[in-house]
Structure formats: C-alpha cells, structure tokens
C-alpha cells in the first residue's frame, strides 16, 4: 500500500510516543514510549494490573488513547479504528482466549485470512470456492500441526491448543508485527516449551512484542525487555541487563 517513501529498514515498524490511557482517575498507561524495528523480539513484563494489556488495547485501537501517539511504519494511526490498523500489518492475540468457539478450527483460520481480503464483501459466491484462501489456511494449519484437528469445533480443543490457535489466527494476515498477550498463560511447562519453539520458527522479519509472566518464555523469545509498573516504563534494556537490575528485582521478582 502507500507506505512512506523513506522506508529503509531503519524505520520503526511500531512506535509509541508518550502514550497515555486513563480510566477515570486511573492512569493505566502513562507516557509510554517504545520503538519496535522489523524483526525485533521485545518483551513487556510487569506485575498484575501494570497496564500491559491496556497498552495492547490502545495500540490495536480497542480503546482510544487518552494522549500520545501510535505510529505504524511512521504513520500516525492514533485515531484509526482497529480494522484499519490491522490492514497495515499489525496483529495481536488475547490474554483471555478469544476465538470463535462454535466454529471449526478451519473456519476460524478462514475468517482470519479473509479479514484483509477484499473478497470478504463478496455475497454471491461461496467461500468454499476460493481455492487460494483454502490453500493458505491449510498451509497455516500445517505449520502449526493442526491439520488433523481442522474440523474440530474450537470449544472442544484443549486450553493449550486454543492458546496456539490464538497465534495462528494472528499470523493469518501475514503481519509485520505481532503482539502476543501472555501466550503461555495456563500452559504446562512442556507446552510452553513447544510454544517457544513455534515462535522461534516464525519469519525472522516479523517483529514480536510479547507480554509474558513466565520468565523462561521471556528469556527464550525476547532480546529486549521493558518493565511496566503502574502504567509507566520503569526500566528497559537487554534481557541480561534487566535480569540483573536490582530495581526490577525488587518490584517484579519480589527479591533483592
């Protein structure tokens, strides 16, 4: 589409400038600035209620920002509705699994693929006649090893499978940046290890912003961590620097 001409790889995929979100008097997100470049793998950690999910909601346009800016490929999208931002290469998953429970795995993926295609407005031709859409769906399901369960209704999948399908739906639109909200929540350690391996296999140009409480997952996936505390970024740096920071130890790990 009409991306700015000055794209040279050094332009951030996603940039937040002093982003704020208040609920009444509560500053859920306060003055958060962040840059994510193509291929970056960054994590956001912070205690419960720190404002991590709210930050994702403001980035994706689920909530309007109170102030500050969200930029995608240098373009200010702060006032855009969700669906337009998604059209620019943004995708996310949800902390609380948010799939289409009564539809099959395949139908979930088909919906996700159609999201950015103009054919989503076609009313006179059955979806099943779109061979390219089905091919893409099968490829996605193959990658995630879901092929054998494609006709299972999503509500009958295990929690772990649903968490993974969340990510598959996020990937369906071929995003440039994927926001993952606690993908490993509620997974067994074996399952989260699988999840980490799955994430590692993804396209290296895909930028990932990850919210996660499981520090093993964080260290395995991300190279950079921002620590959110009461809506503000308390500290940001490489995984090593953050894991050594005494301030972070105090507020987050409760030790030190």
């Amino acid at each position: 589409m009409d991306e700015p001409a000055r794209e040279d790889g050094r332009q951030p995929v996603l940039e937040l400038r002093r982003l704020c979100k208040s609920f009444g008097g509560l500053k859920a997100v306060h003055e958060v600035s962040l840059r994510v470049m193509a291929g970056d793998r960054k994590a956001i950690i912070g205690p419960n209620g720190a404002g991590k999910t709210t930050l994702f909601n403001v980035i994706t346009g689920v909530f309007p920002a109170t102030s500050g800016q969200v930029l995608l490929f240098g373009q200010d999208v702060t006032r855009w509705p969700s669906h337009r931002r998604i059209g620019r290469g943004l995708a996310r998953t949800f902390q609380v699994t948010s799939l289409f429970p009564k539809l099959t795995v395949l139908d979930n993926v088909l919906l996700a693929i159609e999201g950015l295609r103009l054919s989503k407005f076609v009313m006179w031709r059955p979806l099943s006649s779109y061979r390219d859409v089905y091919e893409r769906a099968h490829a996605l399901l193959q990658e995630a090893a879901f092929q054998d369960r494609r006709d299972v209704e999503v509500r009958n999948l295990s929690h772990g499978e649903q968490r993974q399908l969340e990510i598959v739906l996020g990937l369906a639109s071929n995003p440039k940046i994927l926001l993952l909200d606690e993908p490993a929540a509620g997974l067994s350690s074996g399952e989260s290890a699988e999840m980490v391996r799955f994430l590692a296999r993804l396209d290296q140009h895909l930028a990932i912003l990850l919210i996660e409480h499981d520090m093993n997952v964080v260290f395995d996936v991300a190279k950079h961590i921002s620590v959110l505390h009461f809506g503000e970024i308390l500290e940001a740096g490489t995984t090593d620097a953050i894991s050594r920071s005494t301030k972070v130890q105090q507020i987050y790990f409760g030790t030190g």
Binding site: M123, W124, R125, E191
Partner: protein, 328 residues
C-alpha cells in the same frame, strides 16, 4: 447429513409443496401463500438474528413499507397491476432497503438489548406513519387493493398467485443460502461469535452489520409487496409490533441461523394459529406455551431437533475420538 443432502431434502419438500398445493382447498392455498411470504420475512430476520446475532424487533416495518407502497401505487396511481407489478417488486425492495439504510445508521451502532429497543422504536415510527398519515395510508382503515395484477396470467387466481409467491420464496431462499455461505455471510457468523476479535482481524464490523441490516430490509420489503396482494388489503395491523414479534418467534421456533428454520417456524405459527383458533378459545395461551417451551427446551428450535437426534445416534454408534492435545 451433508449440506448437499440437506439441499436435496429442502428441494424435495419444496417440489412436493408445489405439486400438492393446487389440489388443496382455496383456504389452505391462501394459508400456504401467507406462510411462504412470512417465511421470506422470517428468513430476512434470521440473517440478522441467527447469523449476525442482532435481535431486531422492527422487521415488520419493512413488510409494511413494501405493502403500503404496493397499495398506494395501485390505488392512487393505478400502477403495478399489469406487467408493472415487477417494477413494484423492485421498488418495494429498494424503498425498504433504503429505509433500512437510514434506520441502520441509528440501530447498528447498538448491540444486544439496545439494538432491540432501537429497532422497536424505529418500527413503531413506521407504524405511527401508517396509522396517522390518513390522506396517504387510509389511517386505521387501511387500503383495499383493486385486485391482483394480471399480465397474461391472472394472479387473481389463488393458485396462480401461490406459484408467484412460491417462486419468490424459492429464489429468496436460494439467494440467502448463497449469501450465508459467501465470505460476507461467514463474516457475519464471526461477528455473532466474537465481534472484537473480528475487528482485530481487520473487519470493519460496523459496515458488515450495516450491509446485513440493509439486505434484511430489502427482503422484508419483498415480503411486503407480496403480502399486500395476498390479502388484498393493507392496514396498520400489518406493521404493528405483534407482527415483528411474530417474525422473531418464527425464527426462534424454527431455529435461528438455519434459514429454513424461519420458513418452518412461519408455517408452524400460521397453521397452529389458524387451526388452534377454531379448536380452543384460549389458543393464544397454547401458542405462548409453545414459544416458552421452545426457548427453554429447544434453544436451537425445531431444526435443532433433527441435529440432536443425529448427534445422539452418532454418539451411540461411535464414541468421539479422545484426542490428546499436542502443541507443536
């Protein structure tokens, strides 16, 4: 049942109906004709209620618009009684769709019970117009049509008119069936299931709901044009809230999200009402009890009965594979 055998079954039933209907008596033919028209209305509502998850309580408004347009054109302009009947059909659909496009600006932003209230209020506006605009609508008395159209065939024959309505019903069913299977139709299902997720998948959910609302209005208008000629009379009674509630109950009774369910519901309600009223004095209560029992015990309506029977026979024959979750 695969979707193909289902389609064959529906086609078979329709064919049977088309063959048998002429041999029944005049009263039954008219009853079937009415049921088919209300079935179109119910199916249009099913697009909203069953597929998009929008419970509209104002669908009678579009029936009324189609019906009044037909009656007014016929009496004031002597239009639509020959070949121009087909023009009236198109006009009825367009006017109802245009009204829906206007109403949708207010209604589609809301959801759940708010959507219900707004569509109810808008429906009442149309009723108020029919009731008050004496010079145009004949007020309380309504309008008597001069007769059914004639273009080569005399639609004044109930059998001929039945076939016209039957044709429109079959065509509507086919078009709506294609619609719900299309990418657009599937997106409506997604919106019904989880709207926020649909937005974060790139869908402008408002637009999809708005388009669905307009389409439903258009089919409601078609039902209205046919309704006016079926009865030869149009009155505020056709636009009254009860008609909207009836349409909603037909969908719920038949099974929301199935299209055919709306048709079955329409037939069931019409025949129950017609025959119960001759059998029992307190038939309204019987009908009310049927509704309540359906909602309590058959949340998927009459169509759900078939599904349940099928499910239980599958469960008996072959226990579901117990698959263990594997993430990779």
């Amino acid at each position: 049942m695969t979707s193909r055998t289902k389609a064959v079954a529906v086609a078979g039933v329709l064919l049977g109906l088309a063959l048998i209907a002429p041999f029944t008596d005049a009263f039954v033919i008219l009853l079937i004709t009415r049921a088919l028209i209300l079935a179109i209305l119910a199916m249009s509502l099913d697009i909203l209620l069953g597929f998009t998850g929008l419970p509209s309580l104002g669908q009678a408004a579009y029936l009324g618009i189609g019906a009044y347009l037909t009656a007014i054109l016929a009496t004031k302009f002597n239009f639509g009684l020959g070949w121009s009947f087909w023009v009236v059909v198109v006009l009825g659909i367009l006017l109802a769709a245009a009204t829906a496009a206007f109403f949708g600006l207010f209604a589609v932003r809301a959801s759940g019970v708010y959507f219900l209230m707004i569509t109810l209020a808008l429906g009442q506006c149309v009723w108020g117009l029919a009731y008050r605009w004496n010079s145009m609508t004949g007020g309380d008395n309504g309008i008597n049509l001069p007769g059914r159209p004639a273009f080569g065939i005399q639609l004044s024959s109930d059998v001929a008119y039945f076939y016209v309505v039957f044709g429109f019903f079959a065509l509507s069913l086919l078009m709506l069936y294609v619609l719900v299977k299309s990418p657009f139709g599937r997106s409506l299902e997604g919106i019904r299931e989880r709207e926020v997720r649909m937005r974060t998948l790139g869908y402008n959910t408002w637009l999809h709901k708005y388009l669905a609302f307009i389409i439903a209005g258009g089919f409601g208008g078609l039902a209205g044009v046919l309704w006016a000629h079926a009865n030869g009379h149009v009155s505020p009674e056709d636009v009254v809230l009860t008609t909207s509630v009836d349409a909603l109950l037909m969908v719920v009774l038949g099974g929301p999200g199935t299209l055919v369910g709306g048709a079955i519901g329409a037939a069931a309600v019409l025949f129950l009402r017609e025959y119960l009223s001759t059998l029992v004095a307190w038939w309204q209560y019987v009908l009310g009890a049927v509704y309540i029992l359906t909602i309590l015990y058959l949340p998927d309506g009459l169509m759900g009965v078939a599904t349940r029977l099928r499910r239980s026979s599958i469960a008996l024959g072959r226990p579901e594979d117990a698959k263990h979750p594997v993430i990779s």
